[in-house]
Symmetry: C2
Subunit: 375 residues, 2 copies
């Protein structure tokens, strides 16, 4: 696919970059992050829809607590490893939105987690998956609750029809699991101009499945949908909760999709210009920092704030190669620039901590508590 | 650029995958790794060229020691953070092949590192960079030695001509630094069929610069080149040392380039099939594990051993979406498969440890000592 609309770096801003940072360094604007957390919560409160933010974006107990304090109904996680970190920190109202296959070491981990956090809910999209979940927690004091995943158009995981959802729910019930409801992820919203239709797909898919489950005698308490591009439009119909994650920080892809404002990005990578030539320069943020997420419709591997004509053309592990058109404004050798990453989630997952900058310019180190917890 | 030649998953093998692994999990075949280490060392020994392996691939003190024990002349690192880890472990013969900008926190770190490891050499490609290096170590007991970087065609860092190399060397000398020689990285070898020409570019660029430096009165002791695709062809002419890194593990890109044999890959990601449909399945290795390195000429985000017709089509953070053509052999739901990553270096950098499998099937956990040390 070719670029639908070019996104210039100049469309993005990062407000504060303190002096003396060692680079490359992930920096977070605390006030902007707090605003992002509060703004979505208020909007969903106004719609009467719960927010269960996906913690895979920040992987931070402290930010999770900020979201809960603002009114979020628990957190979403993607892996057992993330769930273990948040449960250990006392955050036990978790939904693991993933069809975990609970065999071997994962069975033991799930059992321990369920005992520590009986309210934990787990995604499921196959009868086989449900049977493994049930076997893993067999003999526990409280039944494990599952939420059946629907595919609303992402073509990833999740059953494709309401009938198939009923089949999985029946298998779960038969295996001894509780069935709390249904969920979906409209990943096909990650194309320019696609969010509204994807949100409608989400709303429709879960509504049809919820009705089919109810017709089969299930009580549907959870109807979960939403990503950052669809976080408002999917808060409709029967949807009871939204699972947006990236909204807390924002990134270049969300900006290009119109999901966040031009000044809505709370995260950047501070990088130093280490080498310069007439037509290019090199920064010390490469593929091991910016990561290589780049959809076909977006040009470059990040946006350099204040230098709208520069393009991060190539990444090797520790080098970002930045093309400089003739006459373009360019940073000097040794200058520290702020780079907005294309996709923030994998960026956070490579660093052990990030620098949180307060409105007064003071800097705190916050750990990425669930870093590397990909399973 | 379109695919030059399709690389089927079936061209790659990973020999051992023990039962009961928690997934996703990076696994290393110890015997294969030892063979890779020894084989390159023997070949370079036969040519009388030193091997200084790039440790950014494995980031492991233990593997670094294996390379040194096999005959490597010190290690190459890409960042101060990597150097700090290896120096702390007693490996002090290091070349940091990067034009670090030694201001602010990096100046203090470089100074401490140079005091702990006086033999440390550092790359440089600008007079300004040399001046910062000199200022950082000013007053130390031993002069810091630099190696001037040449651009042999990668178009990344490094000066473009022998004359410019002399200018940088003079600036370094004037600033009080020692000048040990020249180095280059033929990154343009990372295209199908390009390795031989890129190696010749490397050999020529450093030879011309070495001669120019000698004509200007410098004693050139280090003439350093080479990457895994050029590790043999660049061991020629005036080149004194080769800095290959990926050869220790191998990966799908190196295989596609012909730099390693079909059975030469010592690393894989063990992943579980968590979801299945007629035309696809999902594995629990996504972008936060496999990373998204994929050159234009290579199809898919990794190769699934034993299933040559399957293609890892898309990655989200925790999902790998695998397309399954009609009639193709496919793993069952819950099966653990071995995935050869496209590019192993960023994969190692997201995990805190990997599983090393011995010939008898026993498994050890080895830490990724320099994980996340990207600056």
């Amino acid at each position: 696919m070719s670029a639908v609309r070019p996104v210039s770096s100049g469309e993005l801003t990062f407000r504060r970059l303190p002096a003396g940072l060692d680079t490359p360094r992930v920096v977070v604007d605390r006030a902007r992050m707090a605003t992002n957390i509060e703004a979505l919560q208020l909007r969903l409160d106004a719609r009467g829809v719960a927010l269960r933010p996906h913690a895979k974006t920040h992987k931070s107990v402290r930010i999770g607590r900020m979201q809960l304090a603002a009114g979020a109904r628990g957190l979403t996680v993607g892996t057992l490893g993330e769930a273990e970190v948040f449960v250990a920190a006392g955050i036990t109202d978790l939904f693991m939105a993933y069809p975990v296959w609970a065999e071997g070491p994962k069975a033991a981990r799930l059992r321990a987690l369920h005992e520590a956090a009986p309210g934990l809910r787990v995604g499921v999209d196959s009868a086989g998956g449900a049977e493994r979940l049930a076997a893993a927690v067999a003999g526990g004091t409280v039944p494990l609750e599952v939420v059946v995943e629907l595919d609303a158009g992402t073509v990833r995981t999740g059953v494709g029809t309401a009938e198939a959802a009923v089949d999985v729910a029946r298998a779960a019930r038969q295996a001894g699991l509780g069935v709390a409801g249904v969920f979906t992820f409209g990943g096909h919203a990650y194309q320019p101009g696609a969010a509204e239709a994807a949100a409608a797909d989400e709303v429709r898919a879960v509504a049809e499945a919820a009705e089919a489950l109810e017709a089969d005698g299930f009580e549907v308490r959870v109807v979960s949908a939403g990503s950052t591009p669809t976080m408002l439009a999917a808060a409709a119909g029967r949807v009871t909760e939204i699972r947006a994650g990236t909204y807390v920080f924002g990134d270049r892809i969300e900006r290009a999709l119109g999901a966040i404002d031009a000044d809505g990005c709370a995260v950047a990578i501070a990088a130093t210009v280490v080498s310069e030539f007439t037509d290019r320069l090199a920064i010390d943020a490469g593929g091991k920092t910016l990561t290589k997420d780049r959809p076909d419709w977006l040009d470059g591997f990040g946006a350099i704030c204040g230098y709208p004509d520069l393009r991060i053309e190539r990444l090797s592990d520790y080098h970002g190669v930045v093309s400089v058109p003739p006459g373009a404004a360019r940073p000097r050798l040794g200058e520290v620039v702020a780079v907005i990453p294309n996709h923030v989630c994998p960026v956070i997952d490579v660093v052990d901590r990030f620098a949180v900058i307060a409105a007064d310019g003071s800097v705190e180190e916050w750990p990425v508590d669930a870093r590397g917890r990909s399973g």
